[in-house]
């Protein structure tokens, strides 16, 4: 994933199209769009990821431009979302929703998970 982000960063620097500010999104709308547009299918309901299908998105550290770029020109397997079906404003709403997600619990507070199986 790191290499994707580096590539994205390079693309952002290179292209004027990416040099815009992140539009202000609406997290409540974004939550609905995250479901309606099918992001949940691969990234999980709540956006915390699934090993087989898509990485964690909640509290994404990506800048909006990189986020948008992943939608338009996915790094590898993700299905592309063109502006015709997820406009920039909708992407901004989804981004706001993901940014607003609460943190996952800390591993040290999960004795059951620490205790599972192989040491």
């Amino acid at each position: 994933m790191k290499s994707h982000i580096l590539l994205l960063a390079a693309a952002i620097l290179a292209g004027p199209a990416f040099a815009q500010d992140a539009p202000k999104g609406d997290a409540a709308k974004g939550e609905k769009l995250f479901m309606a547009d099918g992001c949940w299918q691969c990234h999980g309901v709540g956006g915390n990821g699934a090993a087989l299908t898509g990485p964690k998105l909640s509290q994404t550290a990506l800048p909006f431009e990189a986020f948008l770029h992943q939608l338009r020109r996915p790094a590898a397997e993700m299905a592309p979302y063109e502006a015709a079906i997820v406009p920039d404003s909708a992407a901004a709403d989804i981004y706001a929703f993901l940014k607003s997600r609460p943190a996952s619990p800390d591993l040290k507070d999960l004795p059951l998970l620490q205790g599972m199986g192989v040491k």
Binding site: G38, S104, G117, V118
Partner: protein
């Protein structure tokens, strides 16, 4: 039971009272040519005709022995424990002989509610029991029902002894149904994915073909075989004299083909010379010994093993089990050894699922590739399960499990002064291994509190309840996150049995049922199935077969209320076509109404628990479920889960 003659008298007496209406019901064929006589007193023409067709006193109507009894004698020599079947009239003689003449033991008859279950449970059973069981399927329609399960077992290289039947020669077929269920070449429907079949035309031939079929099924590469039991042969009288002339060939268990010693020597040299070898184990281990030997080979080389999880190949507790690092290890490898591969191309290459499909190699151009496998011994032309061709540097056509002791010996002979380099490699592997469990736990924390419930939470809660049991998974659990391979100590061969083979949906409930049966036979084990809801809906009545035959197991429904793989496929198409991006759920989801799986299970006589939507309720559900399984019951727990775990 009353004798037929008494029935006849009774019938005529009743007819005299009831008149023509009774005749029309009892003898429809005759009524076509003989108009019913309204309200005529006494027997009608049809009744008279029927009367005159009754056999005379000299004709005998029963017999003490038929061909099907001999067929049972043949099956009993194979040491088969179970015969699974959904009833079908083409094998009525055979079935009656099994349950009465054969006393319903060895094999014991199991009642299934679909031929896909009969065959699919035999698939799961063989992978745990290490020997095949049998399935019987109705002529024509039963074979058609069974086809997908046969295909799965074929792709998965699993032996099943299957029987079908046909009603016999034309002059002996009753009009109508017996014709629909008769076929010249019953195996043709499934010949593309069976190893061998035969339609024996004599009882002697039935004996020889059945024993041959068993041997072929169990020789590597293993696969289903199909024998057609002709209806006339089943139902014909078998005199003492004729029976005495028949003989059943002795069953010899074939040894498996071991590799050419020179080729193994070459392979050992290549493995020892390699700086970064990687061993891939696909359908490699058939037994605990296979697993133990793979550990020995890996240790001799201090080489990492990637378990492709189509069998239980490598203990997850061993530091050389590096399955979660397959990609990076392949990228830096200079030598790859693949054990019983089904798809070397797919292991070494990738292809994206975009409008333009791009391929790329996962290995360097200079990396050498070798394989030991039986794949090429059983390739057919039509179905494409043989996968894309991939050239190798050394291809050894042999059974890798049988060859492994010789390969280890050859490697040990070659090691020499490479020992210190191997030890250094081993240290690197130990260091990498230390991170695996912690990384997996970190990933598991992400969905810890989520509802729908995440896979890591499910497996952690489950572990807490079953950790002191002799547990074994009877389903592949990739869609629920494969947490058992990431975090459970999987050290025994029977703890995991791989997947469906052909990705035919419906394998999970049926394979689980058969595997659970084998675990029951082994005694004291706790079989666990994590079954997708789409998969379960192909055969929910497996719960009835389990209840009826007292086959205990814990079936957890990974309920994402969808055929989720298809949800993602449709979404991908909608995205690609720039339209309908919000309607990917049409035709792929199972909501409105939601299905109540616990009630369904209870309806079939199993224990039903759930739906569980709050992860905090998992502990109580698992405790209750495990207690019931230990008391001998099949249990279903419906857990509403994330689309993927």
């Amino acid at each position: 039971m009353e004798k037929p003659r008494l029935d006849r008298r009774g019938f005529l007496k009743g007819a005299a009272v009831a008149g023509g209406a009774t005749i029309a019901v009892e003898a429809p064929a005759l009524a076509q040519t003989t108009p019913a006589q309204p309200k005529a007193p006494g027997p009608s023409a049809a009744q008279m005709a029927a009367e005159t067709e009754h056999p005379g006193e000299g004709e005998h109507l029963t017999t003490e022995k038929t061909g099907s009894d001999f067929m049972v004698d043949v099956c009993k020599t194979l040491n088969i424990d179970f015969m699974a079947a959904c009833p079908g009239s083409t094998f009525r003689g055979f079935q009656e002989s099994f349950i009465n003449y054969g006393k319903n033991t060895k094999p014991e008859w199991l009642t299934c509610m679909h031929e896909e279950v009969s065959v699919g449970m035999a698939h799961g059973y063989a992978k745990v029991a290490g020997k095949p069981m049998a399935a019987m399927v109705h002529g024509t329609v039963g074979t058609q029902h069974a086809a997908m399960a046969i295909y799965n077992a074929w792709c998965d290289r699993v032996p099943i002894i299957m029987f079908t039947a046909s009603a016999g020669p034309v002059e002996d077929r009753r009009p109508g149904i017996e014709w629909f269920h008769s076929v010249q070449d019953g195996a043709a429907t499934v010949r593309d994915f069976t190893k061998w079949d035969d339609y024996p035309w004599s009882l002697q031939s039935f004996a020889e073909s059945t024993v041959r079929a068993y041997q072929l099924a169990t020789a590597q590469p293993q696969a289903p075989v199909l024998i057609t039991a002709d209806g006339k042969l089943q139902e014909m009288e078998l005199s003492k004299a004729a029976n005495a002339q028949l003989s059943i060939p002795k069953l010899n268990h074939p040894t498996q083909a071991s590799a050419d010693p020179d080729a193994l020597k070459d392979l050992a040299k290549m493995l020892v010379a390699a700086e970064n070898p990687v061993i891939f184990a696909d359908r490699y281990a058939r037994s605990q010994k296979g697993m133990d030997d793979l550990v020995k080979l890996a240790e001799a080389l201090q080489a990492p093993v990637i378990d492709q999880q189509n069998r239980m190949n490598m203990p997850t507790t061993h530091y050389l089990c590096q399955s979660s690092r397959g990609g990076p290890l392949l990228a830096q490898s200079d030598f790859v050894l693949s054990l019983e591969p089904q798809d070397i191309y797919g292991t070494l290459n990738k292809m994206t699922d975009q409008l333009e499909r791009k391929t790329g190699s996962k290995i360097k151009k200079t990396t050498k590739v070798a394989s030991i496998g039986t794949h090429d011994l059983m390739v057919k032309a039509n179905y494409q399960d043989f996968q894309r061709y991939n050239a190798t540097d050394l291809q050894i056509t042999a059974d890798p499990e049988a060859s492994m002791p010789w390969l280890i010996e050859a490697v040990l002979r070659e090691v020499g002064d490479r020992k210190s380099a191997f030890d250094a490699r081993g240290e690197k592997m130990r260091a990498a291994y230390k991170n695996f469990a912690n990384n997996a736990r970190k990933a598991g924390a992400l969905q810890w509190d989520s509802s729908p419930i995440g896979g890591a939470r499910l497996f952690a809660e489950l572990w807490e309840v079953v950790k002191n049991e002799d547990w074994a998974f009877v389903t592949p659990n990739a869609y629920s996150g494969n947490w058992q391979h990431k975090l459970w100590p999987m050290e025994k061969h029977y703890q995991y049995i791989g997947s469906s083979g052909g990705s035919g949906v419906g394998y999970e409930p049926v394979g689980a049922l058969g595997a659970a049966l084998a675990h029951k036979q082994a005694g004291g084990r706790l079989p666990i199935a994590v079954i997708g809801d789409g998969n379960f809906n192909m055969a929910p009545h497996t719960m009835w077969t389990a209840a009826h035959h007292s086959i205990p197991y814990l079936a957890i429904i990974q309920n994402n209320r969808a055929y989720h793989q298809e949800v993602m496929h449709i979404q991908r198409m909608a995205n690609r076509h720039n339209r309908g991006v919000e309607s990917g759920v049409i035709g792929t989801t199972m909501t409105d109404p939601n299905i109540d799986y616990a009630r369904l299970a209870e309806g079939y006589g199993a224990v039903g628990i759930g739906p569980i939507t709050d992860p905090k309720d998992l502990n109580a559900a698992f405790k209750k479920g495990v207690a019931a399984v230990k008391a001998g019951q099949p249990v279903l727990i419906d857990v509403v889960m994330q689309p993927r775990g």
